[in-house]
Symmetry: D2
Subunit: 296 residues, 4 copies
């Protein structure tokens, strides 16, 4: 197994970025990533230094995948996500779109949460089950520059709960070598990532990367043991829901023997939506595999 | 237990509408409702006659709740929802917002689905678990006229999965007597109600109605055995998500001993979103009760 | 000319509302309306008393139009809009969607602005040209209850600048008698009505009402001397823009000899958008009449 | 005056992009750009060859501006925009968001329109005044890669009518040298750019570029002889309108002596909105200069 240790923190990779690791299809890699606070919050008293670059959301990568070319896809199996230092951190901040109801006197409320025995200690009294996921995973968009700006067809900053151990993320390839990167792990996350600060965690993620030669997909997909899903992003969210369900219907048509309109019908009755970071309108549209097997 | 049988089908109640039933707080009522196709689809060959009024979404009611006045709320416990005739029906139609991806050659695809032994027979091969819910339940908005137009603070056409047996729906009262009504039952429904035609079912719903005197709430709420939720509606959906979470934070502050910013923080990590009819942006923002008990 | 003087202030008309005036097609009426503050702000020191009903947006009407029936339309020519008392008033309030940029320390800033010689005296130094319009004009929606809730196909609370003297507003009829009403005059208004408080003015509006028997239209339209426009409302605004332009294309096809796709093409190059109250997504899509005459 | 002739067509500049021209603050440049069809449509019978890269929206640049660094701004005065070959071209295509009203049987309708004597000959009968503008003008976002993807704080693909001769566009600088680029000229454009295909024109644009050292702005601005405006982009459009007006209020506070809440008030009454490409929610919020001079 290859190992990609922490390197220089990158928010946006420079335009002369060189791959930090080169792998072939089928390889497994352990990727270390700093948390979304760039490691600046290790105790409750720490405050962020925004003069440092990047003060937020550093990624690890890019990883060059041998033979990957525009029009291909990657299948990235997430084997595991472990905390690097046994803790995570979060903070509240300006409530953005909630200000008209809650006001703007939000305390910053930075606090560090220990993680052990499968639990996150959010406060003395309250624990949250450890359900890790990656806030960001993506390939380079066709600019060739890995980005943690708003998510897109290349993946990126999606903040989808299902980007989790045991699941496989499918990503389009837009540039030679794919330029895979990841980071922004959360120890757990609710739908919407309301305050925009999850339980941010320095992480060790193990992935296995397969190149799907000639497999062209319009946007990220995830396959879990029991369900498949398509991911769309963009405001307004009702449009990204329409788009994600449309793509799921077309996927069911292309790969599972369903007619698109039969798929459209059954999704009306059994489809599910998982909401990512709400402010940029990321959603996953899902269907249980038990239904997929019966195209009628 | 009182019984409100099927009466004349009403889409929008006339402006001289008289209550069809009068109850007092605490009473249990069995309410019969026609399906959202106004009972016009009983076999696969039936087609809707749009010249009839209403050809769609008839409701049963209004029910006058004694002593209810503006500023109060109703707590409507849904005891059970049963199919009236052992079947439901659905159809595909114009894909509205999906047309740019799927095209507009959608067949109408009307089909009737038998319901028995806890299963909905969607096709010869595929069954869906029977998980009934009410597409519509509401009080009259302050116009005094029950409506199945877009959902609002009065409830109405919400299409939220959690409007289900075992749960209690809280509704604001805007007019004297509350003017409660319900209908549009679905035998099951996916998030978003993609095609706008659920598994439409003539239904017998048993509810117990409590008047909460002087309890003013800004919008519908639902309490399930394991979770509480607030409902907001309106496009864009990212705004209704913000609003639903804001209301949930304020509810946790008012009734559960949480500070609003602590609530805002924990909802970021454990909140959940359930998407109702996507085209009008209805959502429920939820939190598990296990977290509620520990305001820290 | 008939005269409909100020009567009891109505925000939402009661559900047993009786027409206050009955007219026949072709009649001209002078309609007096209170301002949107219900006349509570006559000096800079006045404050609103929200315990009064309605404290906001009273309308004058409904007006019964003889022979009007569902499926018809009204053509309401706005002959003139005059200030009733030579002044208007405005105030700033919570910035709603702007709070995340501006904060929430907005002063209420009530101030009264004299109107004379075609100018509005907003401050000692700054005058604004007097360009009056009606914030609200509508027929009853199919509930039969005139409403100042969010605008809809029946018109209502549209806040479109072009609802102005010299122009004709076309409104669908949904109930017998049409139930026309108007109010919420502004002495001038910017696109979007940013703070939601225009230059609110008690007004005397003269209208001439024609019944267009059997003319079914999907939503309000306005004809000005030099342009025609369709009005759509609803969030997100990019959807209402799409809808308004689609309706305008179909109108050009139905009444002006254009093919819908040629209309779609020319609107791309010469169409104009006027934004009403931005928070509910009201827009008018327009085309100059000089282009209409040349369907090619 | 420097001259930047047509070079290799670039949709997205490669990540090893080298500036094609280097200028100093104050210089005037004549920039030639191909039309948004990459010059593939010169007659009505031409069809696009999508196998070529780029088949759409090539830009000319990047231009390195000496001494420009992150935190600065450029003031780009548009001196003139001339047609390179005396014609423009347009086409209709899939109606995207209008499909549910118009259907999807849209003909491609490619047609070339001669330009002479200040008129665009859209058909034999119908002419449109020549009012040229640039669909795209921007600096590199902080990835360092000029882009014609959705517009952003760096400008880019804004499709704002006011990007026109006589006006000055202010753009933030995110990378050393600024990396200015432009293209996508339209001979005229309606609000919204409904079909997404304007009157696409190969163009010769003359600009004068000033570096505003240390002037940090959050997003593009335009100054016209009679008005100033801020530009925001993103869906839903009601959010970008809120953002554009908020930025305009803060600009009035910073540079024109207005308090932000007085600015917020006056913009309610005299502000104007210009809608760019509607599908990505680009808008300009504007105020006439005559009001600016009187902060009261």
């Amino acid at each position: 197994m290859k190992h990609l240790p922490l390197g220089p923190l990158c928010y946006e990779f420079s335009r002369h970025n060189e791959p930090r690791l080169r792998i072939e299809s089928g390889e497994t890699v352990l990727v270390e990533a700093e948390d979304a606070f760039s490691g600046q919050i290790r105790t409750n008293d720490d405050r962020r230094d925004k003069s440092l670059k990047p003060y937020g959301n550093p990624q690890t990568g890019p990883i060059w995948v041998g033979d990957a070319a525009p029009g291909d896809a990657l299948a990235v199996k997430i084997e595991s996500i472990e905390p690097s230092i046994g803790q995570c951190a979060t903070r509240t901040s300006d409530p953005k779109q909630l200000a008209q109801w809650l006001g703007t006197d939000c305390p910053h409320g930075t606090h560090v949460c220990p993680i052990h025995d499968g639990l996150i200690y959010w406060s003395d009294d309250l624990t949250i089950p450890y359900r890790p996921m990656l806030g960001c995973i993506g390939t380079a968009p066709d600019t060739g520059v890995p980005t943690t700006g708003p998510a897109g067809p290349h993946g990126g900053n999606m903040d989808i709960i299902e980007t989790a151990p045991g699941n496989t993320v499918f990503l389009p390839v837009y540039v030679e070598g794919a330029y895979l990167y990841l980071g922004d792990a959360h120890a757990a996350m609710g739908h919407g990532e309301l305050s925009a600060s999850g339980l941010e965690m320095a992480s060790k993620t193990t992935i296995t990367v397969e190149l799907l030669k000639g497999k062209t997909i319009p946007a990220p997909r995830i396959e879990a043991p029991n369900e498949i899903m398509t991911i769309a992003t963009g405001c307004p969210m009702e449009r990204s829901i329409a788009q994600a369900y449309a793509w799921l219907s077309l996927w069911m048509e292309a790969d599972y023997g369903w007619g698109r309109w039969r798929a459209y019908d059954i999704l009306t009755h059994v489809g599910q939506i998982s909401v990512g970071y709400y402010d940029i309108g990321t959603v996953a549209a899902k269907i249980d595999k038990e239904y997929l097997a019966k195209p009628s």
